[in-house]
Symmetry: none
Subunit: 71 residues, 2 copies
DNA sequence: GCCGATTCGGGTAATTCGGGTG
DNA sequence: GCTGTCCGAATTACCCGAATCG
């Protein structure tokens, strides 16, 4: 071992590792929806998410890209 | 590189990247047509579209601009 | 600690969906 | 063939004050 960095973080099969996290605003811009709508997707289980210790959601770039290109 | 969300999303050769998406109402206003008509264009394959996780269509500004300037 | 921007929550309007019909 | 409209259901947008982010 040694440096003790994060190798991978996978939730629901999606990559939440370093450089893969999108904010609600990011996802909203990508789909052209209100950030509130992104929150609803998360609550409805349509979008996987993790939470910061403060309670703010973060999303997987990998999953968002997948959803953009047609389910 | 700046904000780094998603580089590009191309469907049927048209740009569906961030800042390039139009709602059904947007397209309807541009062509002065009922939004339902825009939906029919999409169903008939005359207009490419992607869907939000909720099932609402989004269109490519690039394609609409192309069609506006006469085929 | 301060500050601007964002994202919580909730609630309520406005759009869009799909099918059917003129 | 193409478009507008009616309907109910589902999805999304805008409003607020409080909290978090960077």
């Amino acid at each position: 071992m040694g440096k003790r960095t994060i190798e991978s973080v996978i939730v629901d099969g999606w990559d939440f590792g370093p450089g893969q996290l999108l904010s609600p605003g990011d996802v909203a811009n990508i789909f052209r929806v209100d950030p509130k709508t992104v929150t609803r997707w998360a609550n409805d289980g349509k979008l996987s998410s993790i939470r910061t210790p403060g309670g703010v959601r973060r999303f997987s770039r990998q999953q968002v890209t997948y959803l953009m290109s047609g389910r």
